[in-house]
């Protein structure tokens, strides 16, 4: 059952309706440090939701709560209209939540292809025994998934480095491979933690295009942390602003940009 709320229309004319994920009064503490203080917000089906805020505001921690890696001391996470019980991260992933990481977390010992293939664990179901024999179901499954992965590789234009071990790749390509891995899972909700850090404008443009295309073509809901205001303002449908663990703003880019609290805490000067 979906949680109906007032739909709204985005800048490019799409209607955004039901809630997919809702955070209710989340509080997360580490010893004395309060990383998140009583924050509530929602993510709706099909939107691009940005989370911004100064360094150490608790943005990444929030993503970690969503993906089940941190368990908040207080508050509830609602997913598709149901309260989500305490879950292990891999169970959350199986529900269709995929993500990238701020400090790239690729599997360095594996090739790009293998990294992206790991993203498809949700789709691969053959057991140990058929894997041992290989011929038959295991091989068939491998080929099917390989085809799907190749599509993503084409889509992100990383064909040329398919077989390269990821450890050797430069930073920007690693980010792209990470995105590929997340996309391979065909997620319903995609969490991106600073996907464009360390990229130049040209690369940011590419990345923006990928993100928009994913959102358009697959209808994937995206939650995004980013420090480049240009990107955030251009891409996102709605923005949450955090500061020191608190929420200080929530709304369309337009609203947020003009929110005095946000300007104070984060933007410094009103952004052009």
């Amino acid at each position: 059952m979906k949680d109906s709320v007032e739909p709204y229309v985005t800048a490019d004319g799409r209607t955004i309706g039901d809630r997919m994920m809702e955070m209710r009064n989340i509080t997360l503490r580490f010893g004395g440090v309060v990383a998140i203080k009583d924050i509530s917000f929602d993510i709706r089906e099909g939107e691009i939701r940005a989370i911004i805020g100064p360094n150490g505001a608790g943005k990444s921690s929030m993503l970690n709560v969503i993906s089940g890696f941190y368990h908040p001391q207080e508050g509830e996470v609602w997913f598709r209209g149901e309260k989500r019980p305490s879950m292990k991260p891999y169970q959350v992933a199986r529900q269709g939540v995929a993500r990238t990481f701020q400090n790239i977390a690729l599997f360095n010992g594996m090739s790009v292809l293998d990294n992206v293939m790991t993203g498809r664990l949700r789709q691969m179901k053959t057991g140990l025994w058929s894997q041992m024999i290989w011929k038959g179901p295991a091989e068939r499954e491998e080929v099917e998934n390989r085809e799907a992965v190749e599509k993503i590789i084409d889509f992100l234009e990383i064909q040329a480095i398919r077989k390269t071990p990821v450890g050797r790749l430069p930073y920007g390509l690693k980010k792209r491979v990470e995105l590929a891995r997340a996309l391979a899972a065909e997620p319903d909700l995609l969490l991106l933690d600073e996907p464009m850090a360390g990229m130049n404008v040209e690369e940011k443009e590419d990345m923006s295009r990928f993100i928009l295309d994913v959102n358009d073509e697959f209808g994937t809901t995206i939650a995004l942390i980013e420090h480049d205001m240009g990107v955030v303002m251009d891409l996102s449908d709605r923005v949450v602003v955090m500061d020191y663990g608190r929420k200080i703003g929530d709304g369309t880019p337009e609203e947020v940009r003009n929110n005095p609290d946000v300007i104070d805490a984060y933007l410094g000067v009103a952004h052009d």
Binding site: D12, F30, V33, G53, P54, N55, G56, A57, S60, Q102, N103, R168, L169, P170, Y171, G172, L173, E194, A197, G198, M199, N200, V201, E202, E203, K204, E205, D206, S208, R209, L212, H227, D228, M229, G230, V231, D234, L235, Y266, L267, G268, H271, D272
Partner: protein
């Protein structure tokens, strides 16, 4: 805006046609030459994988532990060859690198991290204390988290920590690798402000590898553009900012001004230097 032709100051660092090979097989730098003038801020720009990090590591001699080596060319600092010095000798001579991706000492607290930065100094604990306060002055957030283990601080806090740590050695020349990465816009401005004031007040020279071309060119005097291991363009920062290619590819501006990220197409003009 800084004036670009400040002085005819002496060349502090001179990189001459170097080649770098990883693992004995992967050729990454294919003859890179650049120089940094005493008291200057020099930016090294270029896309992902262009070899910026590799260049900086070649200078600070950190390549060895990555199984990379400089096979050709020379690197001179104040006229002396420094290729055979150990990284710690270099730090003692005043060349220190802030590595890409933070590299804080996870298990040490923020304050201990900063103190290790003063490892090579012999001028007594009072002076070190003073510099510690200076760093805290630059980054108040660090002072708040001084007792936390660096591994548990946020990405941006770690970045501040890494920069602060480098400052603690009282360097004459800092190799900064992507200082703005992962920092909030306000902080980026702040950091570059700090770079500028260090440069102006204490005469520290900088070699700066950056993706954030906009800011980098705004604060530096001279710039080099590196692509696939070769320098493809160089010039005073102000000139580079006006170059149409740089504008399009590095600053994201077309003739009509800044485009929205929503409107970018996959089509683009070929870079002129690749023709």
């Amino acid at each position: 805006m800084l004036d670009t032709d400040k002085t005819e100051a002496a060349t502090l660092l001179d990189v001459n046609n170097i080649e770098v090979i990883y693992n004995h097989v992967i050729l990454v730098l294919k003859g890179v030459s650049l120089s940094v003038r005493e008291g200057g801020i020099t930016a090294l720009l270029g896309g992902n994988g262009a070899g910026k990090t590799t260049t900086l590591k070649a200078i600070s001699n950190l390549l060895q532990s990555e199984r990379g080596e400089v096979t050709k060319g020379s690197i001179l600092y104040k006229g002396d060859r420094i290729q055979d010095l150990s990284p710690s000798d270099l730090v003692e001579r005043g060349v220190v690198q802030v590595m890409e991706g933070r590299h804080c000492f996870e298990h040490l607290t923020i304050e201990e991290n900063l103190l290790t930065g003063a490892y090579t100094r012999r001028d007594g604990s009072a002076a070190i204390k003073a510099d510690l306060d200076m760093v805290y002055g630059y980054f108040p957030r660090l002072e708040e988290r001084r007792g936390s283990q660096a591994g548990y601080t946020s990405g941006g806090e770690q970045q501040m920590c890494a920069i602060g740590r480098a400052l603690m050695s009282r360097p004459k020349m800092i190799l900064l690798d992507e200082p703005s990465m992962g920092l909030a816009p306000q902080l980026v401005e702040e950091i570059f402000g700090i770079v500028k004031s260090l440069n102006e007040e204490q005469g520290v020279s900088f070699l700066l590898a950056e993706q954030n071309t906009n800011v980098a060119l705004r604060f530096s005097h001279y710039g080099y553009i590196l692509e696939s291991g070769r320098i493809v363009m160089d010039g005073p920062a102000a000139e580079l900012r006006e170059n149409p290619d740089v504008k399009e590819f590095y600053l994201g501006m077309s003739d009509e001004g800044r485009k929205s990220f929503r409107d970018v197409r996959s089509y683009r003009r070929r870079k002129r230097w690749l023709s």
